[in-house]
């Protein structure tokens, strides 16, 4: 695990397997796995911060409740003298202001609805061309993409012509990057030497801002789907590769010894040992790659010379100053990003849970 969260063991955890070999009992692995979502990920990568709210929120919520009454602040520690230092205590709220999750969820939606309503109102009153009211955007989205016949799942011609190619390219690019990244990552991570050999090159490849390479692919593949898929794959492969390598590298050495004693073959070792223990890291990489795929999908379609796709719809609308379509495409992309991320999280939940059981 890169990034042991606690201050005390952060060093060992970060330095990887060697220190751990000394420390690690058989359960250090399992610990590492469970630690990952709590401490390792949110700090170590961008999308990992998605993890933050679930762990962070309830806690701050609990604190907030005790903080809320301004006079009760001082008495709080005395009211709960036996609160353990870690994990942070979930104080019983002295005044049950927000007892269950429901009011919060409700508040969330109410505020969202209010914000949308405020935007609607402001846009209607102000009549700005640049910020059309959300109602009109939604209407426009419906007309543009979702008012088709039933047998096309309500999709219009425009949706079929623009959304589906984008999704197809993104899926192809992401799938290729995931497969290649996991395979290469396991290969690199299995050997300490291979890891040391490849690390600097990988670090450089990752440091290059992905859009900078798209012009190279334009030269090599010309405009079109191969160029777009290539640029998605080339950008999205690094996070998976690096994370997988890191995960595979930190397989508990003790467990590897056990596997050797049990005479597990390489395939079995991969199946039962290395992959399960690397799985949390793999998914951290996959999540990064997914958002990168979306970015590169849009970016490669924004370039002049493309013929279809959501990004093309965007630039096309931009040149025609059709702000409504620009906004519609943005909302669509946001929804798409949200959906894809949620889907990946669901898959992760299933697989990582399962992996832990078999590990």
């Amino acid at each position: 695990m890169s990034g042991g969260g606690d201050s005390s063991d952060g060093e060992e955890a970060g330095r990887g397997g060697k220190a751990r070999a000394g420390l690690g009992g058989p359960d250090s692995e399992a610990q590492g796995v469970t630690e990952a979502p709590l401490a390792g990920r949110p700090r170590s990568e961008a999308q990992g911060v998605t993890e933050a709210p679930p762990t962070g929120r309830p806690r701050s919520e609990a604190q907030g409740v005790t903080e809320a009454p301004p006079t009760g602040r001082r008495s709080t520690p005395f009211a709960h003298p036996d609160t353990p230092p870690t994990p942070p205590p979930r104080h019983q709220p002295s005044r049950p202001r927000l007892p269950a999750g429901l009011p919060h969820a409700l508040l969330r939606w109410v505020v969202l609805a209010l914000a949308v309503a405020a935007w609607e109102l402001a846009a209607r009153v102000h009549g700005s061309v640049y910020f059309p009211p959300p109602g009109r955007i939604a209407r426009h989205m419906y007309d543009l993409w979702f008012s088709g016949p039933v047998r096309h799942l309500f999709l219009t011609e425009a949706a079929v012509a623009d959304i589906l190619p984008s999704l197809g390219r993104m899926a192809a690019g992401f799938a290729l990057a995931a497969v290649a990244g996991i395979a290469l990552g396991v290969a690199v991570g299995r050997s300490r030497r291979a890891y040391a050999l490849c690390n600097p090159v990988l670090q450089f490849a990752r440091a290059v801002p992905p859009p900078a390479l798209v012009p190279v692919f334009v030269v090599v593949f010309d405009f079109g789907t191969p160029m777009q898929i290539a640029s998605i794959v080339f950008s999205a492969v690094w996070p998976v590769l690096i994370n997988t390598a890191e995960g595979a590298r930190n397989t508990d050495p003790l467990r590897l010894d056990v596997a050797a004693v049990l005479r597990l073959g390489p395939v079995e070792r991969l199946r039962f040992l290395i992959l399960p223990s690397a799985l949390p890291r793999i998914f951290a990489g996959l999540r990064l790659s997914l958002s990168l795929s979306l970015i590169l999908m849009v970016f490669s379609e924004l370039l002049p010379g493309t013929a279809n796709g959501i990004g093309f719809t965007l630039t096309d609308a931009q040149t025609r100053s059709d702000l409504l379509t620009v906004w519609a495409a943005l909302v669509l992309l946001g929804a798409l990003g949200h959906l894809l991320n949620t889907a990946l999280l669901a898959v992760e939940k299933r697989l990582v849970g399962k992996g832990r059981a078999t590990a």
Binding site: G10, Q47, P53, V111, N199, A212, L294, L302, T315, V326
Partner: protein, 261 residues
């Protein structure tokens, strides 16, 4: 121990990659205009270091990058502290945030270009938007991780909420904020270069890359620009990691894998 060995292997790996690129191109496996020999690309990259207009372009990119990142820090840290310490605000705003965040920020380039034209302002606005999220989320998350005992102790001694925030929560959150800034720095570079590539005129590293891409046999220049972009990314990341280690030695060992929206 093996640190030197690892470094040697790493250097060997770099040489190998370099050699393979060179050989593939020289042997004519790939068309030379597609993949120029690595040595030529590197020579061009070094040559560019002496090119005034190119350096000014890099300067313009870095300017937008720094400005955008600075603005993002100025916005995201206070906002994160607010969200992290006042749960009602957090709950209220979260839905909006969750709808804004998954939007790939490069998709905003057309809209912002329509609104602000295609100059530094557009770049800075986009860079800021994209780099706000990692810092914001890390700040909120870090606040949740601060030691409750220290907070309670301070409160017990009668310190006010602001004092607790400044004396315990902010220092406790600082490593998280720093990590967020490091992630955002990479994101900001992506956005700065992407915006430049799409806007196509003006000055900047991305514009150099875009214009070289249009020229015949410009791949060498494009790749030289990419080498520069990668080097910038590495240097920025290296400096920030180093700074984090110096400032917060107790959190060391963690390394970012971060690029994002």
């Amino acid at each position: 121990m093996r640190r030197r060995q690892e470094l040697m292997l790493g250097a060997l790996g770099v040489l190998l990659a370099f050699g393979v690129c060179e050989a593939v191109s020289r042997a004519g496996i790939v068309r030379r205009s597609y993949l120029p020999p690595a040595s030529e690309v590197l020579r061009r990259a070094v040559e560019l270091a002496g090119d005034r207009t190119f350096l000014e372009g890099v300067g313009a990119t870095l300017h937008a990058w720094a400005l955008g990142l600075g603005l993002a820090v100025a916005l995201a840290v206070p906002l994160g502290l607010l969200l992290g310490s006042v749960p009602v605000v957090d709950a209220a705003v979260r839905a909006i945030v969750e709808f804004l965040r998954p939007l790939p920020s490069v998709a905003l380039i057309p809209l912002v270009s329509l609104l602000l034209g295609s100059g530094t302002e557009t770049k800075v606005a986009l860079v800021t938007y994209a780099s706000v999220w990692p810092i914001l989320f890390n700040t909120v998350y870090g606040l949740g991780e601060t030691d409750p005992l220290a907070k309670d102790t301070l409160r017990a001694f009668g310190f006010g909420r602001l004092a607790v925030l400044l004396r315990v929560e902010l220092p406790g959150t600082a490593p998280f904020i720093a990590a967020g800034i490091r992630i955002s720095a990479a994101v900001a570079l992506i956005l700065a270069v992407a915006t430049e590539i799409l806007s196509g005129f003006g000055e900047g590293l991305g514009i150099f890359i875009a214009q070289s891409g249009l020229a015949t046999n410009g791949t060498r220049d494009v790749l030289a620009g990419v080498v520069w972009a990668g080097a910038l990314g590495l240097v920025i990341n290296g400096v920030l990691v180093w700074g984090e280690r110096r400032l917060f030695p107790w959190t060391s060992g963690e390394r970012g894998v971060g690029v994002g929206t």
